[in-house]
Amino acid sequence: MATITSRENDPRQAMVLTATFCAGAFCTILGLAVILGWWFRFEPLIRILPHLAPMQANTALGMLLSGAGMLAWRIGWRRSAVGIGSAAALLGLLTLVEYLTGSQLGIDELLARDYLAVDPGRAGRMAPNTALCFLLTGSAIMLTGGSGPSLPAHISILSIGVVVTLFGAVSLFGYASGIDTSYWMGNLTRMALHTSIGFLALGGAFTLAKSVTIREAVEQRDRDKALLAKTMHELELQKFALDEHAIVAITDPSGVITYVNKMFCKVSQYRAEELIGKTHRVINSGHHPREFFVDLWRTIAAGETWRGEVCNRARDGSLYWVDTTIVPFRDETGRITQFVAIRADVTQSKKIEQDLRRANAELEEYVRTASHDLKAPLVTIEGFSGYLRHFIEVGYSDRALECVDRIQNASRRLKTNIDEMLELSRIGRTDQPPQAVDVHAMLQTLLSEFQPQIEKADADVVIEGGPAMVHCDPVRVEQILSNLLSNALKYGHPASGSARITVCTRPEGRFVRLGVADNGPGIEPEFRERVFGLFQRLDAGAQSSGVGLNIVKRIVEHYGGAAWVEKTPGGGATFCVTLPAGQATDTPSSTAKRETHDDHRAEAGSFSAG
């Protein structure tokens, strides 16, 4: 039961305080005055008017006790209130016992002789209804002082208040209507006029006080209910917000899932029914060692919160990463009742992290191989310079000249290497915005430029397919085409017969696929990836830097396409690239292209980034 707070600020409470104080003070003074009336035989105080019933001295005592008891209650002297109340109740009780048993306990003329007595056998004895009222009023005062503020006590006191008020009111009504002569009524109106007014005041005060108290208790209960409802609602909203954001699961102490939210189902691709009743082993990816979960369980079983990143497996076999917090819930006795796991999907940031790591590794490899390839000509220059000195010293001018040739060649190669490396580093920093480029037309132009090499290689170059529009920087497209052509012309020679190079284009989804096929020795499957690596050469003797195909791969991937090698039907290698398809008018936005990147790589399954 809620306790009533802030009495001072509540006008109803102020009214109750005033009413009970006035009633208590009135009855105290009334009782005292009538007792004095008896002592000094001053009848106006005893019976007010000569023809009315007198207030007995004991009644006056009861009234004094009741009034004082009420004052004590109001002031907060609880023990005094109980004592005084029990005295008043005892007075009423003993008088009733006298009536019921017809005995004489010698208490009736305790304070004063009843010199007005009509019936000598009952001289000084208060009326039975008055006695009953004192028993009730005394009990009520005892209750206020005794028990705590419990609802049954409040209701009892209220009931007593109503009954006492009724007794007083009926008696007063008897006086007012003048029907005191009838036996029954007369019996009732034997309660003195001022006694009935006293009871009316006492009963009224109790009724008022307790009805206000009970009303407030009810209001408090309603407020509590409303607060509870509001809290529940807020909790619902918070749960909703959490469910919108996080993956939530609840398990029993043994780890069996008892609840999963929608996000859990969405990310793991399992239905709730498939998860409830099982453990998290369903989504175990096998990524973490056993000790990882041993540590997790040790932490949460000890009642501590566990935090960590976990790799799980969705229904389709794909892996996802979740940033996980597991909180053990305990009951009042400290026993763990359930574990609540809240997770956030961090697969994307994990992927970025991994990409970054891979990019770093690539960069490291780049620097390593770049330094090697830059150093190689330097080693040559350095070495032959030494021999040059030696041959000059011993006077072998022919051999000295040979050394000078070597040094010059190495210097030229060094320059080429540096140029190519600079070219490589420019990819990604697109110098021109993508535009529609006709690969077919560009190939035709390139062929005339390549004529000397084609003649030198004694090759037959065929271009198949019609116009093919791609959406790229034209300079980059030209780089791709010339690198692939140059590659085919250098390495695409068959052991016997003449070289035949076929270039074909065809649309492939949102991409255009370009293939350059030769009829040369081909590339064994284990080297098909390596051939695109930076500074990778398969033919040791060839004059090649191992940069060209890597440039092709980087440009193509920059545009979201892929580069790979296939076997040419009938022998030889076919270098393939895909570039975003473009139309002269309607060009897809760059963001749309980016989204297609992963899809397309998945399609071009033969390709794998190193």
């Binding site: 330094s371 190689a376 080693v379 040559t380 040791a540 003797g541």
Partner: protein, 152 residues
């Protein structure tokens, strides 16, 4: 004193023709009595060592001079294969490379390269190494089973 000099047989695994010529010229200038076979990539090197394919009649080398950056199969892979082969692992391997990177160095030692030489930017140092190798083989030619090459 050295009474009889058997020629030392080298296998040079090197894709860079200039570097191969540097080695050849150095041996020549230092009057090292030697024979030298040169292959350009790892596959060819393994075929040579195992007398397979076109290298059917190849001679077993006394020393392998191995470049690390090679096409098709890099030097580390070759080294691992040689040292995993009971027959070949006794042949001393000198790793030649332009890279002084620690990673390369460690990796080469893990695969039990007998010596590791950064390709000479210093001509004299390279000559010394070749001379040391030659001297070593002149003295120890009779017992090629226990291999240790002093670091050049």
């Amino acid at each position: 004193m050295i009474t009889e000099q058997k020629p030392v047989h080298f296998l040079l695994v090197e894709d860079n023709q200039d570097h191969a010529d540097l080695v050849r010229m150095s041996l020549e200038i230092n009057n090292v009595t030697n024979t030298l076979d040169h292959v350009r990539d790892g596959l060819a090197a393994m075929a040579y060592l195992r007398n397979s394919g076109e290298y059917g009649g190849s001679k077993r080398p006394d020393v392998i001079l191995l470049d690390i950056n090679l096409p098709k199969m890099n030097g580390h892979e070759i080294l691992e294969q040689i040292k995993a082969d009971e027959d070949l692992k006794v042949i001393p391997v000198v790793v030649l490379t332009t890279s002084a990177a620690d990673a390369d160095r460690l990796s080469a030692y893990r695969s039990h390269a007998n010596s590791f030489v950064t390709k000479p930017v210093d001509f004299q140092k390279f000559q010394n190494m070749i001379r040391d190798l030659n001297l070593y083989w002149t003295v120890w030619n009779q017992a090629p089973t226990h291999s240790h090459i002093p670091n050049g």
